[in-house]
Subunit: 354 residues, 5 copies
């Protein structure tokens, strides 16, 4: 519903808060640069766009409909219709949520729609209000500024996900809990969601930057190429997060298995020690009349001695065995992948021959 | 068998329920728009199509045969033959089933075939009966209406699958059962089945929307592009469902392993406490003649005291150990991926330089 | 070794069982249609082909050699050499085996080779003997008939594999055995083998149907396209089988884990009940002189009462706990993915706007 | 170091063991066909090649360097430089090792380099010494002979790997050992190594056979196509081996789990039988003064009888339960995928309609 | 910050340590070859580049920004901007880290930027200082030398990773520890990180070597092709490492499972032996008045004899069973994949027919 309208006339004068008639006049003059930004787009806004700009009703429906739309770019001849996804920083969900920015880009106008307030759009609007700078180089540069701000705002979220991954890695090694698994799986879902939005975005940026659409001037293409590089970097960081999440999962499952292993080992040890000894005590608890050992003076002490010896011996044996295989302190590898300089230099001297 | 025939003459008059002769006359006039819809297609219907429209017998066989056919589009020069898949809403299976809609699309006729009644076709037929609207813009728009209704009817099923996924996720955390696994695997099969139908459909829609076939007018292509976007969105939602099902599976298996872990821990604890104590009692149950402790006045009380102390101590130890590692209440992370606004704004101010 | 020769002269007369000279004469006349079918191809047959038809010796080697060859099509200018795979219905193996059909296709001849008798070739031969029909439309149609019959004969095997999958699914849920795993893995190998043969076949059919080779007339291409569709369908069914086999494997492994879980639970329960009670009995079996409880009149009855109470209580507790989590009968979901008609119709009314 | 030089003059005369001057003269005459084969290539050999043939020093470095090089083909205008991999049959490793054959192919010369003696090159050299045959059809045919021999020599190794796979499959079912896992993983590594060499080789053969390089005459291309087919077949066999290794791994892990299951079952059974009975015996071993059963004449016999009955009953119950689920002999499926002939013929009669 | 400047005038004179004015003069003369190398690039350096060379500010930002950038090549018409990744040999991390080398390549200048000192750049600088050789063949050869040295310096790290993999493989078989898993996962992360950097680098090298950019002369392309081959080899070695890490992981998990299996077997054995015997002893410890065996003279000896016999028998049985299945020494397979020479030669003789 909330509207923002900016118009930079061909004389370089910036006007704000135009009414509907002025907007249509500006649009039809095909001069200067008009930017209309619509937040929380409603059906009424859709009709406004249809009435004044004559956009295709399918494109308007994409803006108005609350459903999720894939990033894309549609060419309508004299203008482009584009959908991009950024992080929804207003969401309170445990899993990263994305939100859409719909852009109509003509040679002298930009219309942006979104369903939640976007920090990126606000920042650009503030820069425009300051001195109109983002609008002074043409509509393709204004669109670039909006898209670039949207994409760059993904990075702080990636950072936060990275912090969460670090916390999880810590937890997995030092105090694995049942809830850790849940955290890992939630992180993985965030990663996958981001991936599914970024992959088509990369394709769209690629098309915009290679001169497929005449509305994007050659001078601007290198800027779109830069956004493309940012998208690739985000995908890369996201992929790294995915590997870390997968490794955390492996470590967690292995820790659970180890815990069980330990219970089992204790159990085996206890049973191995005490079951035979209980039998021994049981034997001398039998009531046979003819059991000569029972009359021996040191009989009791011998039996108790045997019991004590066996307990100590078996415990030592178990302890030694565990020590050998699980407890030996390893000498930590120092910088395992750092190579000695000589090796590198010698290597080069041998190979670089021109 | 059941037939529906609509004919919109070039004068804009809508006629219904034409006989075979009239159908052929309408077809041969190459004027107006003829729509024949055949439900539960039989061999007789196939011959009817061959006799009156002269379609290729391989295409007719695809309509008549009860086997499943892949989505495709075949170009026969003056008409297209297309197969699409939608959800079979009449099916009583536990797993999502799809059903086919075969379309012959010529410049002045549309012939649709299906083996089960389709809600989507019925809706369009009702709109036609109301005021003939879906037929007034040409055959490619009528075909668009039929395909769009078919594809959009997949969404309610996706919603239902999403509800099932939520139920399963709930169950997996709070009361995992053996049958839960079965539910997860069934959901996965539904997801895969849908995926296998949607992937080729996407390709077909892409070909229809990029002007490969002259029968689809340029004006209509943007509408076909819209269906393409819907198919992409359905694939996306389906993919999300798949991730959720996979995560539910991981959680379920982990819950089963934990349950076992717990049994093991109880067992280890019980054995560790009682086996040694039973040995102690067994020792004083031996019948040796010379066992001085037996004559001590406080002997019995000492032994019982030792037993009680050991039981309490070991239980406390186990409890503490479990508490440390598994029971500590975690402080729930609040909105883990929401970034503070200042960070975003500052970030932008630094990066957006035009 | 066994030979079948059919010759349809340009006058439409069908001759059978030609001698070598007649074959060469027919081949060199470049008129009519000659079909030579060689079963269990030997070195002698290879020389026969080389002598009379002048085929490339590498192609002949592919026919004669008992090794497995990948499906392919080679263009020798005036004729094509093709290899296709069908099911070897004579095999007695537990795993599906495929067998090759080598075809030389010229404008007026077809030479087919295979190492095992093929039902598909026999059927076509019988149709030829009846009235020569499959040969009356030209060599490309004869080749189509042979390939189509070969491919379609894969379907009954797919059906049988589907039956096996059903049996396995039944078994996995109701009576998992060690041998079940073996069955699942064998089924998977059959599926993979079929997949590896079908995937290149799809490519070959695609090339044949898109007019890449002039020997395949335009009229025949749509028929080859039909075989392509069949191959796609077979791959699809095969893929579904694969999902089912994978799910069966998951279920089987989970069933094994559950079984172990159950043993563990019984063990934990038995130990938890009886070890403490045995200790209790052991205490009153000690021979201390001063144990006042031993002299109490109701002492024995109290101890036995305690024992009985504990056993009943713990068993109830375990039973209740299991009941809560594993035993509750679930209300079966009825047609979980069937959507109510109103939802569909309302949905449509909202979306289809032309 | 060891050299072999053959020269077939344009008059058809074969000369052997040429000196350096003669080699250069033959090379510069641009007539006849010169073949130089260098085994265990050293730096000296590299200089020899550079001095007499003027090859690019990067290509020579690839021949001389002991590092592993990817299969490739480089076009130097008047000659090709190719690297192929074959099996190193001299290796004593547990894992299949490949070795390189570097070929320089010009219109009238072939230079081959390798670091270990190759059976394939020796065989061709022997054929040349016999009657010069492999050299009589031109340099592209000589290169073909060398590559073909190299690739075909992979097949015996595949056979041997297949034998190992069979041994492993046997072992996994009848006597799984810890070392079996090691064998499976080694086999998998061999398979992967072979795959990584064969995949690029396929690409190289494809380029050579489709007429991309003018040095390979059209007549020879079909022969290179044949090698391409062999590479595809090897990849196929290798893929089958991979599936078998994966299945063996699954079976092995499942066998280990089953073994554990069995231990658990025995343990649960033993504890369930004897712990309660021990308690019973313990009760009657208590020393209460007032225990009326102790005085009964048949008391002892009743208790012993109860004990015996319980042991027999529980063992029967366990045995029956196991028998039902794990031990029932299955009726072996006879040729599960062989279809009855009638089904096939009937099927065909229905579908083949021309 | 630290600067290195070299200028080779068109007369072949090498000058070093030029000031800013001289650098600009040299750049603007468009003659000779200018190389500026900037280590630890700062904002000031960025302004220096912008002021004197007029590079696009987005490219300069890529050099200055501490964020990670994907390998790429951008064409700015009269110069290329390239980013490559090499190993950061200064890093002290446990996981391999890469660092960037940014190159501006014009027809008569090369500007290189990096954030950490690079051994590869230093080596080339030293060669230049010696006799200016790497600069004498033009800017594309200087760039080649820098990239080649960077890429080749990855190999020693791969070697070190290979050593670590070997250590891990040793450890996994002979003394698996909990920390081993951690090592394996760290190695895997190093491998993945390297892979993610090398894959796009391969693409960049491919574009540089196939003549897409006019600045890279045809003579230099074969050298760039050589780097491409090195990248492919590194990817190959990396892939092999990945397989080894995966296998080590499998072995480790299997070893953990086996360890548990063993505990379980010991437990089952101990319980099976001693629980029944304890019951036996318990029976004869009962205090029934009428227990005739108690009065028998040999009663006690018979019971003790039975106990001893049972212990020995069951232990033998368990030992034998384990021995049969797990302990039998296998005859090690000698060179399992080495084929007998006769087989190879015979094989060849059969197949090579020209």
């Amino acid at each position: 519903m909330p509207f923002k309208v900016y118009y930079l006339s061909s004389e370089g004068e910036l006007r704000r808060g135009l009414g509907e008639d002025e907007v249509r006049a500006a649009f039809e003059s095909k001069q200067g640069l008009l930017w209309v930004d619509i937040n929380e787009t409603t059906e009424d806004d859709g009709e406004f766009l249809s009435r004044n700009f004559g956009f295709h009703h399918l494109a308007i429906e994409d803006c108005v409909s609350p459903l999720v739309h894939h990033p894309k770019v549609d060419d309508f001849g004299d203008h482009l219709f584009m959908i991009f996804h950024g992080i929804n920083h207003k969401s309170e969900s445990d899993i990263v949520e994305t939100t859409e920015l719909c852009l109509f880009l003509g040679s002298h106008f930009v219309v942006s729609n979104h369903n939640v307030p976007l920090y990126s759009v606000n920042s650009i609007a503030k820069l425009v209000e300051d001195d109109g700078r983002p609008m002074r180089r043409g509509s393709d540069f204004l669109a670039y500024a909006l898209i670039d701000a949207l994409i760059d705002n993904v990075l702080p979220t990636i950072d936060q996900m990275s912090d969460v991954a670090e916390e999880i890695e810590e937890e997995v090694i030092h105090s694995p809990r049942q809830s850790t698994l849940d955290d890992i799986l939630k992180l993985k879902r965030s990663i996958l969601r981001l991936h599914r939005v970024m992959a088509p975005q990369r394709e769209v940026m690629n098309r915009l930057s290679r001169g497929e659409f005449s509305i994007v001037s050659e001078r601007a293409q290198i800027f779109y190429r830069d956004i493309y590089d940012h998208v690739v970097r985000i995908e890369d960081l996201n992929q790294t997060l995915r590997d870390r999440a997968d490794n955390a999962l492996s470590t967690h499952l292995s820790a659970v298995a180890n815990r069980q292993n330990e219970s089992m080992k204790i159990l085996a040890m206890v049973a191995t020690i005490f079951l035979p000894l209980t039998l021994l005590a049981g034997i001398y608890g039998m009531n046979f009349e003819n059991m000569p050992e029972l009359g021996w003076h040191w009989g009791y002490y011998v039996v108790v001695g045997v019991i004590g010896t066996v307990i100590v011996t078996v415990m030592c044996w178990f302890w030694a065995r565990s020590w050998i295989t699980w407890g030996r302190r390893r000498i930590p590898r120092v910088r395992p992948f750092a190579v000695e300089p000589e090796k590198l230099v010698g290597h080069l001297a041998k190979w670089v021959r021109l």
